[in-house]
Subunit: 356 residues, 2 copies
């Protein structure tokens, strides 16, 4: 395949060939999500012919080991995507803005983990368990939703189909991983600093003590609404993924001193009365969901249990004391931010492309 072939032909070629082993690229291969993408490709047996590793020009020439081979990290350029069929981007919105259209123009389908194209009407925004069919409408770029959005969507969408979700109130407990590898390293370093009795812990990323502390999400706050960018993503992305703008979303995003799994406390108001039996049955049947809910032993979702796993854990399922009897539930979820919240969801989208 070559860059000069028109996009529609490339798209047809990809489909016509029924490529069982595409050439793939990973943009941001040295980052936290990039590494997890490689892990998913390996563990899920994602088929590929060749793989290219892209990162910041400063890292060009570095080596990345993957499945027994050593790959040389490349900086992205205009011709980087000429021989690629699928590229998984996780290198920040600025990189996606510049290079994803170039890749698409070269006939390479981009699965983009940045927020840049998510709300673009011509770009599908996909959680495979919710709207996997939407990948069919892509124009070369498919957006991966924000981590908190994905993790909430996986269990709430089947409940929405079951009984109509009128409103959710969400409070998050977000891990350091959402802010990247450096943030995880800093949090760990702060624990070491604290144990060593240092007067002030390392705080280059967040500008504050994070260990033994928590704080409102570090993304900027929109001055007109008072919601920060992280919260606004869930508010905006969910209706697009659900293909339904009737859901009212209240959300508060908080960073807690946890390394790599997010939790969310979710309060749901339904259009009709629900029984806990049907809620459990719905969640037990839902793809990507694992119910962890034991009132007797008080065992419910925890970040450490969700870490390195594919499922969104759901527990503390109960009727809501504060709503009309039977019309609301409360629940608590945990999911791996780097996997289902990012890398796994991206690879699942790529798998849907193969299925075409």
């Amino acid at each position: 395949m070559c860059a000069s072939r028109p996009l529609f032909l490339r798209a047809r070629a990809f489909s016509k060939n029924g490529l069982s082993k595409p050439n793939i690229g990973i943009a941001g291969a040295t980052g936290a999500v990039g590494k997890e993408i490689m892990g998913c490709i390996e563990k899920r047996g994602f088929p590929y012919n060749d793989i290219k590793m892209f990162a910041h020009p400063d890292e060009a020439g570095d080596k990345v080991d993957f499945m027994g081979n050593s790959y040389t990290v490349e900086a992205m350029g205009d011709s980087s995507f000429d021989d690629l069929d699928i590229a998984l981007f996780s290198a920040g919105g600025g990189i996606s803005e510049v290079f994803a259209p170039k890749a698409a123009a070269a006939g390479c389908v981009v699965v983009d983990n940045s927020s840049h194209f998510r709300m673009d009407p011509s770009t599908p925004l996909v959680v495979p368990e919710v709207n996997g069919h939407a990948v069919k409408g892509h124009n070369g770029i498919i957006a991966n939703p924000n981590c908190t959005t994905i993790l909430m969507n996986v269990p709430v969408y089947p409940l929405h189909k079951m009984a109509g979700v009128k409103r959710i109130v969400v409070s998050t407990y977000q891990a350091a991983s959402g802010a990247g590898l450096d943030a995880m390293v800093e949090l760990e370093q702060q624990a070491r600093d604290w144990v060593e009795g240092k007067e002030e812990v390392t705080q280059e990323i967040f500008g504050r003590q994070y260990v033994w502390n928590l704080f409102s999400h570090n993304s900027d706050i929109y001055l007109n609404t008072g919601y920060n960018e992280e919260e606004t993503k869930m508010i905006e992305e969910t209706p697009k993924i659900f293909e339904d703008d009737s859901i009212n979303i209240s959300i508060t995003c908080i960073r807690v001193p946890v390394l790599r799994a997010h939790c969310e406390s979710i309060n749901i108001e339904f259009e009709r009365e629900v029984t806990l039996e049907e809620v459990h049955a719905c969640l037990n049947a839902a793809p990507g969901v694992k119910v962890v809910d034991n009132r007797e032993t008080n065992k419910h979702p925890e970040p450490l249990d969700a870490s390195h796993g594919y499922d969104v854990l759901v527990g503390r399922i109960r009727h809501d004391n504060g709503q009309k009897k039977g019309y609301g539930i409360e629940m608590f979820i945990a999911g791996d931010q780097l996997l289902k919240g990012a890398a796994l969801n991206a690879v699942q989208i790529a798998e849907l492309l193969l299925e075409k």
Copy 2:
């Protein structure tokens, strides 16, 4: 004063004498809250004539230093309260159940930090900023509410008076301190264990890794409702303190790896439309509240900022995207669990007794 005098006479004597310097006792003097009670007595210049320190019989004979004097810890017995006017109990529900009535019978007014008497109709349950007047109705025992209840009540009550709170949805971020000194020590030890690279961290209190983790509150879950004891306390205590059972409360309680201040994400539905200006004005004028809310710098309440302080910090104040425009707000609070959530509130109640 002596134990044989009838209760009503003792109560009158206390009032008649206008005791400016009562004899006080601290039950649970060696615990996390007991130490903070002493700190509040010292820092607030709470007047007293003599002070007795009570703890578990195993600790009887130990010494406690307080304001330049050394006190011998005593085990509580039937005659322990004969010479006392006010006793501050923070030694667990079982101790309160047995000894608070004995103290009251001896004419000593008990401010009880346990949950044992909170829902007893003849026992006032008091947050001084909300229903300080209720202390007047005591029969020898006044209950201190649960920490999460107090911290929520302080900012929400003035808003309720302002515009009528129909419903709140609360998710908590609770510190180790609520589970006692041993829990704080274990959490700190887990950080040391983790830094040392131990395969499994010390987990005698919570039976799980707490550092880099979080979990649904460790209190038992009521099998019929699905709410745990901690959540049920806020649901039951708030209407009694507000003297208003019209408020609908949804709540999820979570322990996070923080040492001594609790946070709460609070979503409020009002009976009428509110402006953010009047919400800010109300909270700025509210006793015990400090507004920390800067959208530009993203500075909002954090546990470390609330620790060792008396005020409940309130921030992230915004209109709720998920409710009828103007009828709801979201906010995030932080308060010292050991101080306003326990010791300070108890000492404030004792101060109201003095004012009689």
